[in-house]
Amino acid sequence: MTAPVRDLDAPVVEVRDLRKSYGDVVALDGLDLEIGRGEVHGFLGPNGAGKSTTIRILLGLLRHDGGTARVLGGDPWTDAVALHRRLAYVPGDVELWPNLTGGEAMDLLARLRGGTDAARRDELCERFDLDPRKKGRTYSKGNRQKVALVAALASDVELLLLDEPTAGLDPLMEAVFQECIREARAAGRTVLLSSHVLAQVEALADRISIIRDGRIVESGSLQELRHLTRTTVTVLTGRPTDGLAALPGIHDVRTEGGQVTFEVDGAHVAGLMRELAGLEVQAITAHPPTLEQLLLRHYGDGLPAAAEASVR
């Protein structure tokens, strides 16, 4: 067992060509992922894409079949115990011990990691509006999640692994959560945030990886991803716009009430602007792609499968 080394420039999470199957079902099919120190990394994908499998491999709970995975410079399987002192984890589906109170569970998990900051814990309970005196079985799903969140956020760790951590929280608590993640980033912590909530990732993530069918289909900063994608433009012009559809990089032109809406590839915005200049533009709106659009583009052909997965 080699002692994990602390190298401030090395990536906190480094995954190459990760493979994992459950019997005949391929969960991860050559996944690559790199997360730099101090970065909040959004991990997006539909149900069953392999997000939880990836995180559980990073925790050493699952053994991978192929490829390499490094966490904080160590091997997640063999160095699990040493690494877990430096990271905290919030599962998507939090189960608590029915006869332990939330407070007892938080203290226990913090102590098992090596330390507890009682003041920080109490402050977080306050902010998340959580009563730590209730027994585990009496908490709702959202409150169980808060227990796991408080336990993770109160610990002094370098890496937070959050697997859809806010699925059961209301919008008010979602805001508190976002605040806490910003504080964690300000404190120099690294965060892997797997999520369905696109607005949350947009608001928090420095970089994003989109996973689908066990591999990363897109990775980069939000800006970089947008660069790869199309901007939606709506214009109202004094002259006919018939020539627009013939321009390179213009897609999906539709006319509605005199306004023309279309999408333009990032690389062809300059050409479009030259064309529009001669058309007596009276009004123009252009907005970058939302993550919904990003996802739809990547999963558009896979929607029936995703819908099926969510029905199950």
């Binding site: 589906d93 109170t101 407070g103 098992l112 990691r113 090596g114 209730k134």
Partner: protein, 547 residues
Amino acid sequence: MSSTTASRGARRSGTAAISGTGVLLRFMVRRDRVRLPAWVLGLTALMGYFVTALEQIYATPEDIRAVAPLLQGPMGALFGGPGYGMEDPRLEHLLAGLYGTYVLVGAGLMSLLTVVRHTRAEEHSGRAELVRAGVVGRHAQLTAALLLTAAMNVAVALLVGLLMTGQGFPGPGSWLFAAAVGAVGLTFAGVAATTVQLSEYPRAAAGAAGAVLGGSFALRALGDMTSEHGNVLSWLSPIGWGQQTAPYVLDRWWPLAISVVAAVLTAALGYALSVRRDVGAGLVPPRLGSARAASWLRSPLALAWRLQRTQVVGWSLALAVAGGAYGAFTGPALEAFEGAPEELLVVLGGTEDIGAGFLAVLALTFGLTVAVYAVLAAQTVRTEETSGRSEPVLAASVSRPAWLGSHLGVVAGAALWLLVVAGLATGVGAAVSVGEPRMLGEMLLATVAYAPAVWVVLALAALLYGGVPRWLPLVWAVVVLALVVGFFGPMLDMPDVAGWLSPFEHVGDHPLEPVSAAGVATLTAVAAAVAVAGVAAYRRRDVLGTG
């Protein structure tokens, strides 16, 4: 007018409360398409096995007469029944009066588990909420569960009746015995209908109903041992009601009326209690606990102890009471053996020390009981993993061996403690009732000597769990083997290898024989080695996901 409206309203709400029962019942049958025939055919097969085995062992009436004294005495009463027909027993008396007891117990177990599975377990998982949101009355689920259980009991009774009459045993007695099996089952369905209202937990509900079943067995054992054909204690026991029908001897049906009335009353109590609580809640309201963990709760070992503490306390109390009761019976038992024929005393270790033979049987009983605890505790460890609660612990700085080792260590230690409790309680009871202080030490040593055997069972459970968790229940085979070899081995003609395979046959039969130091050492070493292999296997596999 108004009274008509009121009564119509009442009638409507009366049927509304059970609307959807039919659909739910069909759904339950669909869910139990494997489990239901397994129980029904399994219980019938158990009876069939007894019939075949005894027909081979006791080929002639002389063979039966030879064992009659043993069966007639307290041993027969302790593990069998009130001993009707044992003065001049025929095969059917042995089957209905002794071995059939375990079919009665089996029917009770089947019924209480089925009711819990379809009521409280459904509520606990939250599935009942989905169902109740449909067009389903508030009593539909319990009604459907009780109907299903009743149907299972009728099926078992029919098959057992056909089996016994098919084997040529007298018709009236055969059908009476079969009806007793069904009636005992019905009673425990009613008992479970009440216990599922009390706690939020399916395990607690099954545990409470199971405690009634165990108490019924113990009550009738005490009653049957104290007086011929039982006394008032036997008549307080639901199992006793079934046995007091005395099939093939008195052939009386009326004790079954008590069973049916008890079933109806307990079921009615269940219905009454169910409207006094919310869906998913128990009658005992949850309380607020501590906002902080106790300072000792800081290691995987402390967590394992905290999670198993309640169970250990419960088992300790139960074993202390049972041990004291059975121990206190040693004196009367020895008197009953006075003047017993030679062949019986040979079975119990000779005329020299019948008391020692009796204590040895009690020690084995408690050894096996603690083995049952160990397997149940191992199953709760698996539940920790399958419910997803082991994951956050392993995601903290806790190694796999530390997690599993802590749980196994707590169970192994608790098993030793429980054996000490049972040995002490039985020993004190025996020493006082006989007036022989040395019996305390003997009984304690005899019981504690089974600790390595229990550890072997626990280690096998750990190996199965570490390798392939869903195979964990296979470890019950070892417990059943040990039970059959230990209690029926001398009577049934079993191959030597069966005895060799039971860990409980290697520690000596103290106080009949000295404790085998070599056996204890070997079993301990085997347990340690198998447990280490189990932990190693657990270390190499994936942690199970939830769902």
